[in-house]
C-alpha cells in the first residue's frame, strides 16, 4: 500500500500560554488562551475550528469540557488519552480526519494548572485501581523511569554522569529561551549532588512541574498555503504502545518508539540523519538516552555515550530540545504539544538566539505513561516536500 499522509496536511498555527506559574487560572482557561494564541498565529478564529483534539489531566471528558468552554460544536472530536504522548499522536488522527474531509480546521489543545493548583504532577489515573502494583507504593511515574535507568546502566554501562549531561544541555538551551522556567546555569555536579528521589535519579534528572498550555492548528496543505505563516508540513506520524502498568513493560530498556520512529520515518521517506532539530519528551534524563536509541539516532545500548559527549548542547551535532525541554523549560503534565510547538518554531526560524540555522526537518516525539505510549512526528518546511 502506497497511500500516505506525507505532506497532505500542515501545521499553520502554534502557540504556548501561561508557561511557568499561572496563579488563579483554571486548566481550561490556560488551554483556551493557548488555543486563542495558536488561532491568531494562523490568522484563523474559533468559528473556523470544526475538528477538536483535546486531552487533559484534569477532566474525565476533555473534548466535551473544551468544546463547551470554547463555544464550539465540532464536526470531529477526539480525546484519546495516552499520557504525554497524546498531542503528538493526535496529529496522526487530525491528518486522517482532515484528509478525509471530516473536518477542515483541526485544533489540538492542552492546558494544566498543576503547579499552582496542587504543586504535584496531577493525574486522573491516580484514581485507577491497579491491585498488582498499588501495595508496593510505586511512586509513579518517576519510579518506573528509575528502574529503566537502573536496568540500562546494568545492561549497557550507562552512567549517572551521562544522564546528568542531558539535564546540563537542556539548561543551556533554556538559557536562551525567555519562556523557560529555569534559566540559570546547571552543572553535572549540581545534578549528581542534588536530592535523590528514586535511585538512580535525582531531582535534577526529573522534569519540572509547571503550569502551562499549548496548541497547534492544522489544515490540509492546499488551504495552508494561503494562511498567515509558512505552513509546516506533517511528513510522517506514527505511534505505538507496549503496556499500561510499568511491571508489564516487555523490556525495561526498549520502548514502542522503535515502532513509532520506524513507521514515521518510513511515511516521511526520511532517516534520522535527515533531521535538523529533535524535540523528544524528556520527562527524565533517561528518556533522551533510550528514545534516541529507539528512534535510530544511535544503536541500542550506545545512548549513554551518545548523549554524554556534549552533542545535545547548543552548537553540538544534534540540536535537541532547543527550548529547554521538560527538564528546564516547562512541564505541565503532558509535554507532547510543547515538543511540537518548538519544532514548528524552529522550522519557521522564529527562535531568535537559540535558532538552529537552516532547519528544514524537525522531529517531535511524545512519550506517555511510564515509557508506555510513544509517538513520533516528522515535520518539514516546503523545502522538505
Amino acid at each position: 500500500m502506497t497511500w500516505s499522509l506525507r505532506g497532505k496536511t500542515a501545521i499553520v498555527g502554534a502557540a504556548t500560554a501561561h508557561l511557568g506559574e499561572a496563579p488563579g487560572y483554571s486548566h481550561m482557561e490556560i488551554a483556551a488562551d493557548a488555543a486563542r494564541a495558536a488561532l491568531a498565529d494562523a490568522g484563523l478564529s474559533l468559528k473556523d475550528v470544526d475538528g477538536l483534539f483535546a486531552v487533559s489531566m484534569h477532566s474525565v471528558f476533555p473534548a466535551l469540557t473544551c468544546a463547551e468552554y470554547l463555544g464550539i460544536q465540532p464536526r470531529f472530536s477526539e480525546a484519546t488519552i495516552v499520557g504525554g504522548s497524546s498531542a503528538v499522536i493526535q496529529m496522526q488522527t487530525a491528518a486522517l480526519a482532515l484528509e478525509n474531509g471530516l473536518c477542515d480546521v483541526a485544533l489540538i489543545v492542552y492546558g494544566s494548572n498543576q503547579r499552582t493548583a496542587s504543586g504535584k504532577l496531577h493525574s486522573p489515573s491516580g484514581a485507577e485501581n491497579l491491585p498488582y502494583e498499588k501495595p508496593y507504593g510505586l511512586r509513579a511515574p518517576i519510579a518506573g523511569y528509575a528502574m529503566s535507568a537502573a536496568r540500562h546502566m546494568y545492561d549497557y554501562g550507562t552512567t549517572r554522569e551521562q544522564l546528568a549531561e542531558v539535564a546540563v544541555a537542556a539548561r543551556m538551551w533554556a538559557g536562551m529561551n525567555e519562556e523557560a522556567f529555569h534559566r540559570d546555569p546547571l552543572t553535572a555536579d549540581d545534578v549528581l549532588g542534588s536530592r535523590m528521589v528514586c535511585d538512580p535519579l535525582t531531582v535534577r534528572d526529573c522534569c519540572l512541574v509547571t503550569d502551562g498550555g499549548g496548541a497547534i492548528v492544522m489544515t490540509r496543505a492546499d488551504r495552508a498555503k494561503d494562511l498567515r505563516k509558512a505552513p509546516i508540513h506533517l511528513l510522517g506520524c506514527a505511534g505505538g504502545h507496549t503496556h499500561r502498568q510499568y511491571s508489564m513493560m516487555p523490556s525495561l530498556t526498549t520502548t514502542a518508539a522503535v515502532q513509532s520512529g520506524r513507521e514515521a520515518f518510513k511515511m516521511a521517506g526520511l532517516s534520522p540523519a535527515d533531521v535538523d532539530v529533535v524535540q523528544v519528551y524528556d520527562a527524565f534524563t533517561i528518556n533522551a538516552v533510550m528514545l534516541l536509541e529507539d528512534l535510530g539516532f544511535c544503536a541500542k545500548g550506545e545512548g549513554g555515550a551518545f548523549v554524554g559527549d556534549g552533542r545535545l548542547r547548543p552548537g553540538g551535532a544534534l540540536p535537541f530540545n532547543t527550548y529547554g525541554g521538560g527538564l528546564s523549560c516547562t512541564h505541565p503534565g503532558m509535554l507532547g504539544i510543547f515538543t511540537t510547538v518548538e519544532a514548528v518554531r524552529q522550522l519557521r526560524g522564529e527562535c531568535g538566539e537559540r535558532q538552529v540555522d537552516g532547519a528544514t526537518i524537525g522531529l517531535a516525539h511524545g512519550n506517555g505513561g511510564m515509557f508506555a505510549h510513544e509517538s513520533t512526528a516528522l515535520l518539514g518546511t516546503a523545502a522538505a516536500l
Partner: protein, 136 residues
C-alpha cells in the same frame, strides 16, 4: 484443591481469594503450559481458556530495583523492584530484610507472604546465590 475455583467471579477475584487464604497461586495455561501473570480470562500466548492455578516455586531474580526516597518521619526509604519468577513471569514487589539501597539487579530472591494493611501481599527475601547454570 489446586484447580478449584474458590470464589465466584473472574480470575482477579480467584487470585486474591487464594492469596487471602495464604495460598499464593498463579495461572498456567492448560493449552500451552505458559504461566500467566497478571491473571487473564484468556491466555495472552495462545488464547486458551483453561487454566490451572499452580503454586509458584517462589524463586526469582531481581530484574530492576529502585529506592523510593522518603523522609524518616513519613516512614523512611523503601524498596520497589521487579522480580522475574522462575515460572517466566514478572511481578512488582519489594525485597525485605536488607537495606533498600543494597537490593541489586541480578540478586536471587525467595517469595514470602506478608500482611500489610489487612491484606496479604507477596514480598521477597534475599536467597542464597544460585550455582552458575541454575535456572534464572
Amino acid at each position: 484443591m489446586p484447580d478449584a475455583k474458590p470464589v465466584p467471579g473472574g480470575p482477579d477475584a480467584t487470585y486474591f481469594a487464594f492469596l487471602e487464604a495464604g495460598d499464593w497461586r498463579i495461572q498456567r495455561c492448560g493449552s500451552c503450559d505458559t504461566h500467566i501473570f497478571q491473571p487473564r480470562v484468556m491466555c495472552p500466548s495462545c488464547g486458551g481458556e483453561d487454566f490451572q492455578w499452580v503454586a509458584p516455586s517462589g524463586k526469582g531474580i531481581v530484574h530492576s530495583t529502585t529506592v523510593i526516597r522518603r523522609r524518616p518521619e513519613s516512614g523512611g526509604d523503601y524498596n520497589v523492584c521487579l522480580v522475574d519468577l522462575d515460572e517466566g513471569v514478572r511481578m512488582m514487589s519489594r525485597v525485605e530484610g536488607m537495606e533498600p539501597t543494597e537490593v541489586a539487579i541480578g540478586m536471587a530472591v525467595a517469595a514470602r507472604l506478608a500482611e500489610q494493611d489487612g491484606q496479604t501481599v507477596v514480598v521477597f527475601d534475599p536467597a542464597p546465590t544460585r550455582a552458575v547454570g541454575a535456572s534464572a
